[in-house]
Symmetry: C2
Subunit: 317 residues, 2 copies
């Protein structure tokens, strides 16, 4: 294990890949890697890229990362794939195209399938970002298809959120994606050679003008990812946002908040585990749980009782 960590510290990509897998599977070695790298992360710029399927996110991500890689930056890519019988096939092609990037020695790609379980994805993604960051990546791009909770949680891990749309998806999509629009920092209209691109840009700009903003003016960038058009401008917008975050002390603030969230999430996990074990072992508690399940005991009083049993027994600070 010590050898693997040293190789990681020496920036061996094989060690990075191995540790990412351990972290993803939640093994003790993965936990050790997270402890080992905790003091050293926080330098990478985490860029989230999201939007509806078919918007060309993967091609755009590929072009953007290629540009960064050629400029000598260390680039990490995390693809968060909601595994679904409905979407599985469609996404695979994009991923294969993105693999072309693997020929750059300074690019590392990690795919993370959510396997239907939504809860753990954000935690895993946070771990993977931390490892890539500590490894020395300058940019970590997190790409995800917009499916509910995962999208929000994953984008919450990013410093800069890029929302990719295409012309003509219309009001319906825009409202559908309202929640995510509000956390986006940069808007892209991809496939901007299609009719209606300028209308879409104008619609977006109008909506954004109504928005209460503080300091940051949300840019709307037109791209044609398949031909590499607009990528420079997008990279520039991302760099501007990074400078803005640093200037306004939001960069450090985001890292503090994320570290705090990880602590709290881990505490919650430990507590949940403790409660479940306790209920399994303790017959009285099990009876109480069953009464709640049947509906003969109200969950609020039961929670208060159980909680005091677990926490307060002589243990108040």
């Amino acid at each position: 294990m010590q050898e693997l960590l040293s190789r990681f510290d020496g920036r061996d990509p094989v060690a990075l890949g191995r540790l990412l897998k351990e972290v993803e599977n939640g093994t003790p070695l993965g936990q050790e890697a997270l402890r080992h790298t905790a003091p050293r992360h926080g330098c990478a710029h985490v860029v989230g890229i999201t939007g509806p399927p078919g918007a060309g996110k993967s091609t755009l991500t590929g072009r953007l990362c290629k540009q960064w890689a050629e400029a000598g930056l260390e680039v990490g890519i995390v693809c968060v794939d909601p595994t679904s019988p409905f979407s599985g096939g469609a996404l695979l092609g994009d991923r294969i195209r993105m693999l072309e990037l693997s020929s750059y020695p300074n690019v590392f790609i990690k795919s993370l399938a959510t396997r239907g379980s939504l809860g753990g994805t954000a935690a895993s993604t946070a771990d993977i970002i931390q490892l890539m960051d500590a490894y020395g990546k300058d940019v970590v791009v997190v790409e995800t298809v917009g499916v509910g909770q995962v999208e929000f949680d994953v984008m919450d891990l990013s410093d800069t959120v890029v929302l990719v749309n295409v012309p003509g998806l219309g009001d319906s999509i825009q409202t559908l994606k309202a929640g995510i629009m509000e956390i986006a920092d940069i808007f892209v209209i991809n496939q901007a050679d299609r009719p209606g691109a300028d209308d879409s840009v104008r619609d977006l700009q109008r909506m954004l003008a109504d928005r209460q903003g503080a300091g940051w003016l949300w840019p709307v960038v037109k791209t044609v990812a398949t031909r590499g058009e607009g990528i420079h401008r997008l990279a520039e917008a991302i760099e501007n946002h990074r400078a803005y975050l640093k200037r306004e002390q939001l960069w450090d603030e985001k890292r503090r908040r994320r570290n705090r969230q990880r602590l709290m999430r881990e505490m919650d996990r430990l507590f949940r585990q403790h409660v479940l074990t306790r209920i399994q072992m303790n017959e009285t508690d099990r009876g109480l749980l069953e009464a709640v399940e049947r509906g003969s005991q109200d969950p609020f009083s039961a929670a208060r009782y159980l909680f005091q049993e677990i926490v307060n027994q002589g243990g108040q600070p």
Copy 2:
């Protein structure tokens, strides 16, 4: 307070409205109402209706509830609205149209705005469902626009999930909504008088045929809600699903699981509160939190230490 609860028990709709507000605001009276009604809920059929904006969900919900109301059923409606600068206006019109239902004495409508904070919505919705259920509603319809986390959490509270789409939204939307498609029990193609309706039905049926099913064959219902077409068939599909749930013991199973979830969620809330208070009061813990925030202490070791301080001090069962 006792008087209000008696009036609630006597099925006074004013008392119901008042207690719903208390519950929504999380007041002590609201908590008391939840304790009071806990043993008596679990009878109502909770029907979730979701889908993209513009699919005509509100009109459909209105027609469906009108039919039930005219058949003499007690109907509760919970509208979960994501408040958003982008979607605010569009939804208002639908809501106003739905208010026409208020003229039926056996229909009660409750709107619940999420006010940007996503976390508490599911808990509030669960509380509101419980109260309507205990009040004696036969059906509680929960309608929400598909925005991420809220949609999933709210639909998870339903016995029967109806996903409403319109013709021609195409693959893009369908993949976008993939997550929610997997929890839907009944599919509706609304505005079925528009071109492409039959294609959409066929596409959906083809997708559903590939799906591993157990016992329940997902129906696809065509409706034209504005003209009231297909509403009978939809009501029938919903009734069939209820019968299926009862036949397969899934009805009770769902209630047990939901009661259990409420207990666990309440425990989590108490724990989170306890941890935050403790950190505020205890200087050592505050120092630890700050070290985690700065990144000089890894969150996993810190969580383990803090957790043992809080829980294990002499308090093991």
